[in-house]
């Protein structure tokens, strides 16, 4: 039962006193009791229920009517490729598919090697089946050419094959996989660029958001950890410098940092280096993220008891080994929720590329989609799919974080 009403247990102490007094942990069992306890427990509650039901019904009806009747989704359907790729030359799209296949195979291997299996309890299974049907229907409506279905089929097959191999190889694959994941970004960048490939200036759409978020997450993590350790260093020069850097970055808007990357970074680097704009912006995203990662890791470090440091020193571990083997594993474990929360917001922040001159990310593509005469004024229909794409990524990341938290037993020790 707690599966169906997870809020109930957690909120029991804040519910009506009637609920608390009769049975603190028990949740009403029959639907009738449940409705009475949760919707009509008193006059005030009943009035609220009726008012909220009216409001929610009105909103839901308006929304559904608009989505299925009024709205003209062709603006999204026609521009789907722009949403995904921006100005990426269509003749070179195979490079994106190749990168996708590489990443999907890696993901399959990791999934298989982790030894996890899907949870087939009825509630989960039904939920998953409904999600799959809706997803497939949506894709069927969206993708009309058969070619793309073959490409998606190959991706699915690669994932499945990766899972099988990973399961067979088991934990032996852990270290090679770690190396592969670290190498994955450079590999993808190469696949996109080598042998007459596509310049970074033309990368766009959802692809651009993913690439920028990816590099910023991976690069900012080690830098952030170093900054956090530096901030807690007993060497005044190092800790003061770390604090100054962290507070400066955290005190200003990301957009001003991006402007700095756009206008000023070329000037402060040695002349003639010619770093592409996108790389400069990626550097700024990384710098921005590192300052926030540092603060999160600092929180984790503060949670490690002093005794752990003393024990490590008593064992004669040098500082580097002490951090790597004793302190950081404990500190980082407790930062998982905050860290993933930060990475989610970093992913959302990649949409700021839309207001930097010359980049066509997912948001900019959506904003430009109704430019043609045919779709003029279809801004809602153009912007909403972009919002949904951002939402799906962010929401699934937060769900994944919750599962991870439970698995490492956070908040239970």
């Amino acid at each position: 039962v707690s599966e169906r009403f997870p809020d109930q247990v957690e909120l029991a102490d804040l519910e009506d006193r009637a609920v608390v007094e009769t049975a603190p942990a028990a949740v009403p069992t029959t639907p009738g009791e449940w409705v009475r306890a949760n919707l009509f427990s008193g006059p005030v509650n009943s009035v609220v229920t009726v008012a909220v039901a009216a409001l929610a019904g009105w909103l839901a009806w308006g929304l559904l009517h608009w989505v299925f009747v009024t709205a003209d989704w062709r603006v999204f359907k026609v521009n789907l490729a722009s949403y995904m790729l921006g100005r990426f030359p269509r003749a070179e799209v195979w490079r994106v598919w190749a990168s996708l296949y590489f990443v999907v195979t890696l993901a399959g291997l990791s999934w298989g090697a982790s030894g996890k299996r899907l949870d087939w309890r009825p509630a989960r299974a039904v939920g998953r089946a409904v999600g799959a049907v809706v997803g497939v229907l949506l894709l069927l409506w969206l993708l009309e050419s058969t070619g793309i279905w073959v490409l998606i089929g190959v991706a699915t097959a690669l994932f499945a094959a990766g899972t099988a191999v990973g399961r067979w190889a088991g934990r032996r694959l852990r270290r090679p996989l770690l190396v592969a994941w670290i190498a994955a970004f450079p590999v993808v960048v190469m696949v996109l660029q080598v042998a007459g490939g596509v310049k970074p200036a033309l990368w766009g759409g959802f692809l651009l958001n993913v690439l920028v978020a990816w590099v910023a997450i991976f690069a900012s993590f080690p830098i952030g950890v170093l900054l956090a350790v530096g901030r807690r260093s007993s060497l005044q020069a190092i800790s003061k410098a770390s604090v100054a850097f962290i507070e400066l970055i955290r005190g200003v808007p990301l957009f001003t940092l991006l402007l700095f990357g756009f206008y000023v970074v070329t000037l402060i680097l040695p002349p003639g280096l010619g770093v592409p704009t996108l790389i400069r912006l990626m550097i700024m995203f990384t710098v921005f993220s590192a300052a926030y990662v540092a603060e999160i890791v600092r929180g984790g470090l503060q949670g490690v008891p002093e005794g752990q440091y003393e024990a490590a020193r008593a064992l004669g571990l040098p500082a580097r080994k002490m951090f790597r083997l004793v302190i950081l594993p404990q500190a980082l474990r407790s930062t998982i929720p905050a860290m993933i929360g930060h990475f989610i917001s970093l992913f959302k922040d990649t949409s700021l590329l839309a207001i930097v001159a010359g980049f066509v990310d997912l948001l900019r593509s959506a904003r430009r989609a109704p430019a043609g005469l045919e779709f003029i004024g279809d801004l809602k229909e153009a912007l909403l799919p972009a919002a949904v794409i951002f939402w799906i990524v962010a929401f699934s990341m937060s769900r994944w974080s919750q599962r991870l938290e439970r698995r490492v037993g956070l908040g239970e020790r």
């Binding site: 809020d7 102490d13 919707l39 005190g251 957009f255 402007l259 040695p270 959302k348």
Partner: protein
């Protein structure tokens, strides 16, 4: 065992001495940082000179030469660049201040709704939070602007009960205007507030002495309303409400809010309120269960439990994270550029495009935001201090 001269403790070599190593290490670190910074500065100076400009701030005194779409500060293109920048700062404050206020109110309401015993209300609040939190704020601002505000009727079309007007150019709402005697009435209001406070104290003291119900809220409110009302009548109505009216292609009277401003404010408020709601919910849940049970055991009513036991403790937990949400809102106001509202970053961007000098303008911008962050943090720390002290003393 004869003492051999070699046994006299030999000082370890200098490079083995921990204190020496710490000092040298730090000196080296500082030198490296300074060298890198100097190299960057030299590169910057060289690069800037090649573009035919310099690193001085003199350009702030030259004529700005570009118009601003709107400005609270009086401004014209003939004014100095510095004045344009100041106008941008004020425009940012005009968004951030009300934004913080409104986001707090909405966040509180939604946060409490998230904990309501009513299932439907709880779920509605949850849908709002999950939908808003997981999409970019920039997208939301653009959505409010181009998909909502720009699709409103043209000027003269929409009206709310004939007193406020909505159009695709913004909103016009009634606003109080001050007449003669307004300053005097402000003094009367202040006096009324002081008297009401005294009455509050007196009623509380009476209740503590005799145990009779104090009804201090009722008493103070009536005293305040009475005094200020009498003052208002005696001074002959020093403040009146000015309603907007349609005059040709524009509204006169009341206060007019541009569509760009409304979009930025709406976007920031709706987005930040979702985060504040989660903080409110988390802080209330974080108050130990025993506190509420103890309050209940003392016979406090549900309202009293909330007012005197749960909320004061929840407030203490909530202040630091709410502070960082206020900072986020202020920083996110820089996204106003997307809908061409002339906040300080948009003005800075225009100055860069007009006059070059990106480095100086960005230094100014960052300095402005650091100052704003510092100011908000100081205010919130003072508040935090007040709240925690009150909690521990009583």
């Amino acid at each position: 065992m004869a003492a051999r001269p070699e046994a006299v403790p030999v000082r370890p070599p200098l490079w083995r001495n921990v204190r020496f190593r710490r000092v040298v290490g730090q000196v080296l670190f500082v030198l490296v940082v300074l060298a890198v910074l100097r190299e960057m500065y030299l590169n910057l100076e060289f690069g800037v000179r090649r573009q035919g400009i310099d690193l001085s701030f003199d350009f702030l005194r030259t004529q700005a030469g570009f118009p601003l779409k709107e400005s609270v500060l009086s401004y014209s293109p003939a004014d100095s660049t510095l004045r344009a920048f100041q106008a941008g700062v004020v425009n940012t404050l005009v968004v951030a201040g009300p934004g913080i206020l409104l986001a707090t109110v909405l966040g509180l309401v939604v946060g409490v709704a998230r904990l309501s015993p009513n299932w439907l209300l709880r779920k509605l609040a949850q849908v709002y939070v999950e939908a808003v939190r997981n999409t970019p704020v920039l997208l939301q601002i653009i959505f409010w602007y181009s998909a909502v505000i720009l699709t409103l009727p043209v000027i003269g079309g929409g009206s709310l009960a004939g007193v406020a007007f909505l159009s695709n150019r913004g909103a016009a709402v009634p606003w109080p205007v001050t007449g003669p005697g307004a300053g005097l009435w402000a003094l009367v209001l202040l006096g009324a507030l002081l008297v009401a406070g005294a009455v509050w104290r007196a009623r509380t003291a009476l209740n503590e002495r005799t145990g009779r119900p104090h009804h201090r809220v009722l008493w103070s409110v009536w005293v305040f309303v009475g005094i200020s009302g009498v003052g208002y009548v005696l001074l002959g109505g020093p403040v009146s409400i000015d309603a907007p009216e349609l005059a040709g292609r524009r509204y006169t009277g009341g206060v007019q809010v541009s569509g760009e401003y409304a979009a930025v404010l709406l976007g920031l408020v709706v987005y930040t309120a979702a985060f504040i709601a989660e903080i409110v919910r988390g802080s209330i849940l974080a108050v130990p269960k025993g506190q509420k049970e103890a309050a209940e055991a003392l016979g406090l009513s549900p309202f009293q439990q909330l007012r005197f036991v749960v909320l004061p403790q929840a407030l203490r937990i909530a202040i630091p994270p709410v502070n960082s949400q206020y900072l986020n809102l202020t920083k996110n106001s820089s996204l106003a550029l997307a809908v061409a509202y002339p906040d300080v970053v948009a003005v800075g961007n225009t100055i860069i495009n007009q006059k070059g000098r990106a480095f100086q303008v960005l230094a100014l911008l960052m300095g402005t935001f650091l100052a704003a962050s510092l100011f908000i943090s100081v205010v919130m720390n003072v508040l935090n201090l007040l709240v925690t002290r009150r909690g521990t003393l009583r």
